[in-house]
Symmetry: C3
Subunit: 363 residues, 3 copies
């Protein structure tokens, strides 16, 4: 684990809530998993299967659910030596505590524009923003308060970047696209490229200019090398709190509802409309012009080829097998209709046999 | 919709063809879908299912097929108020009109090399080309007339970029690779990286240097974060008019025929030879060393594991289902050979029964 | 083929081993495939199916297995005119010879830092390293001897890059991440972005700061636009000799064993532990927290959803078919349990029929 400047448990609870059982003056300097934590660390127990591991932890303190706190103290017959922070959602508490440690550890940033950056005089960069080396910001772009744009980023004309946004190195952010406050955009992301729109004229593809934008809400995170295309006539929309992992592709005119999360390598074709609080496993794909309801969960590697109007978990990938076994099952899948036809023929024969036998029995 | 400097319908028809039914002096300033167009817009009807919507449009003018023009006028008993442009392919006409509006709207570009760019003295940059901030152009690279290379691009030594090409920000274009006229390359694309070629020597991979190039024709579009590897000994070839969406991977020594289009996240392994006028849905994959004929269409999410020598539409992805239903079907797929064996056993039993009954009937 | 400064066969064999049958003073200037080689080239025969093609080659020299050498000379009745280099693994010999030609051909690089690069005074750049135009190197980064960092790369604070590493243009290498000697990293790769770690708190995602690093061994190759996330609490680890193709995604806290190779578009979710000497075909996916043994080979397009503890080849993708045929098989797959239930019902009926007939036969 990375150590850091410490904080007392009392200060942590004052800041993040929860009930402290133990010494508020104890200093912890970082967070570690149950099995790696030492006497300078706080750890957490969110999976009840790990109760036994938790009972043996060397951590100074542990974030636990009320039920787990009771269990641990009973196990130790009231002598459990680890200070406890009791919270309803220890994993969320861990996230907040880790953010706090991160903030303590963060190096101070000098506001201002690096001398090697190329910033158009007509761009508006907040005085509190930090623009890194070799950044290019075009005319009329607006960079918010305390925003941080790292080395090599490109911000197109008229783009607007919210307060406290952090763009990692080498992001390409195209003209007129917007993102809200506290955005995090990772390296190599490309936002606002032109969507894949063509008309076919006698076998030749004619480009349809893409004149919409990408408009993104607050608290959105965009992974490394993810691409989001601008709309054709209207805008591509990403609502608040959406989290996109690396190498995701979002086509033109998609609309993604608030707090939906997508794991790496997901692809969404153009004009798909996805609800709020959905999750997509890695490499899931969504065809264009589909509608997906709120609270839909798509398993990894699954292809969504029809709209989904009912919440729930959906899956569709071919089960893995030893190659020889797959060869067998794939050959049958290829000819499944002949297997089905055989079963139908058997049904007929048996019905005939049955009738014949019944007749013969009634003879 | 984005408004723009206007154009008269007469000028539009003079430039793009089609039959004008209505006022040639009417000025339109942009294009919008049927349901969003207003009296300053032109719209289009290409899908006959939208005829009713078309009849109610507020647009100033509409691009229509001859049959639809007749329908609309009959519906309105000859009093259809919207000016019509009659064309055989309204969607292609829309694309061309949108390109024209785009051209009217385009900001003038100053030719020349931005002072923060690093251009080798031995590079040849046309006097009409525009080289953006923080671009790197190596020795002996050639940049064509009116080409535009946006911020942060890298153009390797000896590369040749055709006239009127537009490279968006942060493209990586490696040494000796060529692209023709009117190319559009989006941000983050990597062209001419070394292919994935290794010889295995007792468990250790030995790199095989990749000494071919990538050679690309005219009117090609390459999406954001797409990668095309240079050939091992000979070249990777992309013919004229090919359109590649975002995050596509093309392996070394592939050959892609003219006017083939691939949607996002497609992968093509090395030495595949793909015909002309093919289309690939999103995330389709093609194994290496395969041949695919002209006019083959691969559905999204499908794996091409054998050569395809006949034109047509091909598909192969596991159908999506509620997770519980998928669990059931996947378990059966895993053991499909035992289901098939059961059916075979049933056939035998029934044949035996049949014979027995026939015998007994003949008793 | 690209020609180059020549080398004698005697020098080649002295350098790379193998038995020379023919003239050691013969000069060759490059390598070409059997059917393209000319009298200035050396070629190789590694696939016994190509023996006939080999017999007709125009190459000056050929790398062959002992058995193939014998075959060719017998065929030509002792008069085979092509000089032979006999080696146990001609393909590996070809790789080494090609590396040697590549080295002869390589342009000399001037060591030093390009004046447009932005290198923090607290970075340590070896005097023999070459830092290209518009590179950004942050404080405390260490660049090894003879390393080459091409245009537009970003190297974060505290990162360490081994001797003889070559970073192609526009790589993003984040703070504190390490790579060993002779690394090759292609354009657009993003190493050390923050992993996709969130806790869900009443529907809202809370970011979990990712405080681990990415730690990579020697002789590793990382493809264009590949992304490798840093660990959450501990590190993401890539061992020696791993080869990653383009557009691969490696999640946080993965551990990839030595000499494992992955083809393009592979995705590996977080905390997967993959063995040594494994191979992954293009677009294979691995779910998180799985364990994969040494010497496991995953076919292209396959989803690994369970741990694999036994070496071997594994596959799982839906077989491609003409779309109409796929529609049929997919419809049956969707309802496979009803087909299975029918078979079960038939079994029952037949058992009953059998019993009835037996009884009737015993009447």
């Amino acid at each position: 684990m990375l150590t850091t400047v410490g904080t007392t448990l009392g200060e942590l609870v004052k800041r993040l809530g929860g009930e402290l059982i133990g010494n508020p003056d104890l200093v912890v300097s970082g967070i570690a998993p149950l099995d790696q934590a030492d006497s300078a660390s706080i750890t957490f127990l969110s999976n009840p299967k790990l109760r036994k591991q938790a009972a043996a932890t060397l951590a100074a303190a542990m974030i636990v659910k009320p039920g787990d706190a009771q269990f641990l103290q009973e196990q130790a017959q009231g002598a459990f030596a680890v200070t406890l922070i009791v919270a309803d959602n220890p994993y969320a508490y861990y996230a907040r505590a880790a953010q706090w440690f991160e903030q303590l550890r963060r190096l101070p940033l000098a506001a201002g524009i690096h001398p090697t950056a190329s910033v158009d005089p007509a761009a508006q960069v907040a005085a509190t923003a930090t623009i890194g080396p070799l950044v290019c910001i075009e005319a009329n772009a607006v960079i918010g308060e305390y925003a941080r744009i790292d080395a090599g980023c490109f911000i197109g004309r008229g783009a607007t970047i919210g307060d406290h946004a952090h763009f990692h190195a080498n992001v390409s952010w195209h003209h007129d696209c917007h993102i809200g406050q506290r955005a995090i955009v990772y390296s190599g992301a490309v936002i606002g490229g032109e969507g894949f729109g063509f008309a076919n004229d006698a076998g030749v593809w004619l480009k349809i200019p893409q004149t919409g934008r990408v408009v993104i809400g607050n608290d959105v995170e965009i992974g490394g090398n993810t691409t989001i295309d601008r709309g054709a006539l209207s805008d591509t929309i990403i609502e608040d709190g959406v989290k996109l992992d690396n190498q995701i592709q979002i086509g033109h005119n998609c609309h993604i509802g608030a707090h939906t999360a997508m794991a790496g390598c997901v692809g969404v074709a153009g004009s798909a409309r996805i609800g709020k609080h959905c999750t997509f496993g890695g490499a899931a794909m969504v065809l264009g012009h589909l509608t997906i309801a709120d609270n839909v969960h798509i398993s990894s590697g699954s292809m969504v080829s029809r709209s989904i109007l009912e919440a729930g978990q959906y899956t569709g990938f071919y089960p893995l097998a030893k190659n020889a076994d797959w060869e067998k099952s794939a050959a049958i899948v290829r000819n499944l209709d002949s297997l089905r036809d055989k079963v139908r023929a058997l049904e007929k024969t048996i019905n005939a046999l049955n009738s014949a036998q019944n007749e013969s029995n009634h003879d």
